[in-house]
């Protein structure tokens, strides 16, 4: 695939999460859909402001947990009842209370692994390149104390000149154009 060229989007910088969220909310209300927020720490309202939608990670976690539970419980049952039955203090070979702890551990293990890898699989990480790092103020501030709203060029409403003046109505610290 040839490298993409042109404008990725316009990046507005804010000093406070409140300003960012007000701007993001307004942009979403005005019909923007290809937009994203960047904050130095998790700001849940930012996700809601740009139309946070449900993802499949909880479902993957649940499925992973249930699979782990079922797999370990069946493995223990198979070993104890059919593969290698042992008489332990005269107990029945199918002694489910003893199976609970490993089965529980596998539930947690597989739910955790499914959550972590499911998250990576669905969000496109690890990503070696992202255009917004081309903006010097983003490189310097995004992980410390600056809050960014990016309106992307893929949005049909995007126009380099009018979008810039639109972003400036939110009184950001700066608006910079981001190249691919």
């Amino acid at each position: 695939m040839p490298p993409r060229e042109g404008t990725y989007g316009l990046l507005a910088e804010f000093d406070t999460p409140g300003d960012l969220i007000r701007a993001a909310r307004q942009a979403r209300q005005d019909g923007w859909r290809r937009l994203d927020c960047y904050t130095p720490y998790p700001v849940e309202e930012a996700a809601e402001a740009i139309g946070f939608h449900r993802n499949k990670v909880p479902l993957l976690t649940l499925m992973g947990g249930l699979l782990g539970l079922g797999a370990m419980f069946l493995l223990e049952t198979w070993i104890s009842v059919w593969a290698f039955p042992l008489n332990i203090a005269g107990r029945p070979t199918y002694s489910w209370p003893a199976f609970v702890v490993p089965a529980y551990e596998w539930t947690i293990l597989w739910a955790g692994l499914s959550a972590a890898f499911g998250m990576l699989a669905l969000n496109g990480l690890p990503s070696l390149y992202h255009p917004v790092f081309n903006a010097p103020n983003f490189r310097n501030g995004a992980t410390t104390d600056k809050f960014f709203l990016c309106l992307e060029a893929l949005d049909p409403k995007f126009d380099p000149a009018s979008t810039r003046s639109y972003l400036e109505t939110f009184a950001p610290v700066s608006v910079v154009e981001v190249e691919y």
């Binding site: 406070t16 409140g18 998790p42 849940e44 309202e45 203090a89 209370p97 003893a98 609970v100 702890v101």
Partner: protein
Amino acid sequence: MAHDSHAKTLPADLAAPSFVGAWQGRALMAGAVFSVIAAVLAVAEGSLEHLLRAWLLGLMMAFGFAIGGLALLMLQYCTGGKWGLLLRRPLEAMSRTLPLVFVYWLVVALFMKRLYLWAQIGDVSAALKAGLIDEIQAHCIAYKRPMLNPAAFVGVSLLCFAIWWYYTWRLNRLGALRDTQSADSTPFWIKKLENISGPGIIIYALTMTAAVIYWVMSLDPTWYSSVYGLLFLVSQAYAALAFAVIAVVSLAKADPIKTVLRQTEQHDLGKFLFAFVMLNIYLAFGQFLIIWSGNLPEEINWYLDRIRGGWGVVITLDFIFHWLIPFTLLLSRDLKRNRKRLVRVCQWMIFARFVDLFWLIEPNFKDAARNLHFSWGILEYAAVPAAMTAFWVAYFCMQLKTRPLVQTNDPHVAEILEPEHAHA
């Protein structure tokens, strides 16, 4: 940083809203109705047997709310956090219900001989000969006599009540005093209350263990479990936290809690509930697994009394009610952020605690061990604890009305009034 323009302001009137009085009235009515039902059932049964057993259940319930509230109050002074500020006044009011718990306990102490086998049996060898007890019981009662005797029961319980009352009085007094002082005293108060609460939690754990060993575990003098105190400690926090969440979310219908209850902290409380749901099943199942694995004749009978003869249904329901249902529901993020549904789950958790205590208490008695059967008396387990809890709730509401609902001399107040996105 905070921007003043978007922060809310604390309402001028921090007093409990007027509907707390209505709650109190409704609770009193419910208490009266259930008392009448309990009396009718006692007449139908023709004895006080089950009424007293159910009274013990009601005592453990009210005790759990009051002392569990005190423990959570001390916990939040040690950990800090905005959830603590939200719950502080409801928890204080819960801890101040201790006098009512004491009154409930007095009845148990008065009727000790009707409830506890070790109190009934004066002369062990005569009772053995008469066939009132078996050899194991005779041995255990004689051997444990220095601990299990009426004087020790009353003495230890009174000592525990005295210690709990001291902590209740001290923390409540300082909590009120703190608000009369200026903001520069805040660091002093944080440290001071932390220093009282830290050792207080340890003393609570020890005294609470002693109390539940005397009040509940000694119903069966032959059995012991070293995790018994912890089991009650966790389930007290389970029920007390559920009650406190119901209180604070219901209070949020009006100011002042309406202004300070944000979704973030409600979500945190939901996660906290979830932690106690997990810890509770962890200890309960751990105790079962160890005793089941050991399969020793001294220990296993306690479980057999509670599994055979129909009790298997109750323990299965207990597992489903106490763990499976709250666990699966509290996994949901949406549910923890939804006020109505979170309250429903908390109410369910308190109901599950009733079922659990029923399973713990009733099979201790000879007529019920390995033999779950219907009698008019068994319905007392629904009526008496419901009446006692209703009266307890009325007393709680009365206590809640005596103070402003938000502590003002606390740095978290400014934070909790900010929009949710201001802090991570």
